[in-house]
Each structure stands twice: as C-alpha cells, then as structure tokens.
Symmetry: C2
Subunit: 198 residues, 2 copies
C-alpha cells in the first residue's frame, strides 16, 4: 500500500520536477512510516513539529484553539496530502496548531534532518521545496479570498463541489468550523437552502 500511494505521488511530482531514480530511492529508504489511531495528535501547539507527514491512508485535521478552548479547523489532509508545521520546519520554532487524526491514519514522515540532507544532495529537492511552498501559498490565497469575499452559502457549495470525498467523510460540524462558522449556523443556512429552493 505504501508503494502505491508513493508511486502515484512521484508521478504527480514528475509534472513539475525531475527527480532522478537514485534520489527517489534514497528518499524512500529514509522515510519513517508512522501510525496514528483515530483521535491521536500528530502535533500540538508548543511542541516542536519538525517533520512532514505525507498521508498514505487516513484523514487528519489541522486546527487552532483559542484561550477558551474553542477550535477552528484550518485545513484537512487525506490520502496524498502532506501536512506539517512550517514554523517548526523552517524556523525551528514550536508548532502553533494541533494536527489530529480523524480516522486511523498511516503516514510517510520525513524529518527536518532528512529534508536538509536532501537539499544538500541534489538541486531537484530544492526545486521541489520551492514549488511545494509556492503551491501551498496559492492554496492559502484562494482560501483567504473565499473567506473574505464569499457568503457562507457560496463557501459551503464550493467546499462540497471541490471536496466531495471529504464531504462524505467529515461530520458537518468539522466542515462548519472550516468554513468559519459554528455547526448551528451551518445547519441554519442549510435549512434556508431547502425552503428557498421550493
């Protein structure tokens, strides 16, 4: 199963960067395969979270918690996604959010030491790092734009359209939190949708 997911990842990456076979083999030989049961945390605020987790199987959420313990989902990650803390990875500072498994989750994880080693080994990794960061930036810009410009209804429709799989696997209150509202508000909006469409 590991090979399957990692193989298709490499194919996706190949559209942007050429990774020589021996570099890929080196990476594969150094990855750690980790298992997190449902509910377990991959990272918590204050901890050092200096590795990336590429999800082989499972589902995680990344969320902030305010001083009263209220939680705000900022991102989900399912199969083929890579999650981690840039704060820890780039600056060596503690993570600022929680990463939690919502299903039993298996990851291929890559330590900061390994990442730095890759950067020195071959320029293809540097390029992959740049493109990865730039793509993530585009994702963040899109999300920021949606949160600012779109109504709750539009954001909800967009989420359903662009994440049909997540829509099925996530409870509604996690989606609500991701859209920036409470479960109650999302439920209200949904019932408005129904009555208006008749």
């Amino acid at each position: 199963m590991y090979e399957e997911v990692l193989y298709s990842l490499r194919a996706a990456i190949a559209n942007f960067v050429v990774i020589p076979d021996e570099e890929w083999a080196f990476l594969l030989s150094k990855l750690d395969y980790l298992y997190f049961p449902k509910g377990a945390f991959l990272a918590k605020p204050g901890e050092m979270a200096d590795c990336t987790h590429t999800i082989i199987k499972g589902l995680v959420r990344i969320f902030y918690a305010d001083s009263e313990g209220k939680e705000f989902n900022k991102q989900f990650g399912a199969e083929h996604s890579t999650v981690g803390s840039y704060t820890s990875l780039v600056f060596g500072q503690p993570c600022r959010y929680y990463i939690q498994a919502l299903e039993d989750t298996t990851t291929a994880s890559c330590s900061k030491e390994l990442i730095d080693q890759l950067y020195e080994r071959h320029p293809c990794w540097e390029r992959m790092g740049r493109l990865g960061a730039q793509h993530y930036l585009l994702f963040k810009e899109k999300r920021e734009e949606e949160l600012i410009l779109d109504t709750l209804e539009e954001r909800y429709r967009t989420f359903l359209r662009e994440n049909p799989d997540l829509s099925r696997r996530l409870p509604q209150y996690h989606i609500a939190s991701y859209l920036g509202v409470t479960d109650v508000a999302l439920s209200r909006m949904r019932s408005r949708l129904k009555t208006n469409s008749y």
Copy 2:
C-alpha cells in the same frame, strides 16, 4: 537611492542564502525601475501580473474587491517589501487582486522571464525562491491565526505595535479594512478603548 535599498536587501538576504557577486551583478543589470504615482495600479484582477515589484520608495496596498465593489485590504508593502501575484508568476494565470500605490512609488521589478533565467543560472536563486515562499507562508499563517483567534482590539493593538511606521502613513479606514472590519467598526472599538481606560 536604488543602490541603498538594494544593498540593504542583499545584506538581509545574506543571512539565509549566499549570492555570489557576479550573480548579484547580473540581477542588478536586468532589473527594471518603475514609477507609479499615487493611486496608480501595479496590477488588476484579470490581468497577467508576471513580475515581482520590490519597493524602493513608497507604499502600496493589495486588496480584493467583491461583486459590489467593496474593497478588502489583504496586505501592505512599503520600502524593502516585495509584492506580486503568485497566481501569475507560478501558474501563468491572471492576477486575482488589485495592487495600488498609496504614495508615489518607485520599484525595482523583476520579470517572470528573468526569474526563470535565474533559476537556471545558479542554484542560489532556487534556494532564495524557496526561502522567500516559505517566509511568506509563515506571514500568511500568522495573519490567518490572528484573524481567527484574536478580537478586533487585539488585532488592532498588534498592528500598531508591529507596524508603527505604517500606522502613521495609512488612513484609519485602510487599517480597518486590513483588520477585517469597516472604518465605522474600528472607530467604535477605539472609542470603547478610551472610555474603558478611565
């Protein structure tokens, strides 16, 4: 004046990446120096915005506009800042926001062609691109966290503390828009501050 700002930029960059003298000289020889009078646009939605602008002197804002024309500031850029559209630069897609000069502004601008040329010339540019994108990501994560977790009052205090210079150069309604509220709401909060502190 150009040399001054660019020289101190190079010094700042040197903390992260070593740029050989001849590479730096090449870059300098290729930069375009542009002038935008107050109110002019460096980019608009729908246009291709495939160059970065490093601000030598002046002040710009980046903002979204919704379907009714309401505007939402998402970022400011003053001297030493670099602004641009990742959508255009990385994906060759049209820009999704406005970039507007709030003061008469001079920039050192770098075309997408030049950037791609740099990436092929020397690995130091690839690394600079990676670190630039990663640092910008950290900035975005911090802003996202503040918008989600902090009250308007906290966000306002943080902005004043971390941007004393901008606080003086910007009218209040531009700051309000950056903080995610209208000028009226910011003014209300400020008057609450005064009465509560006595």
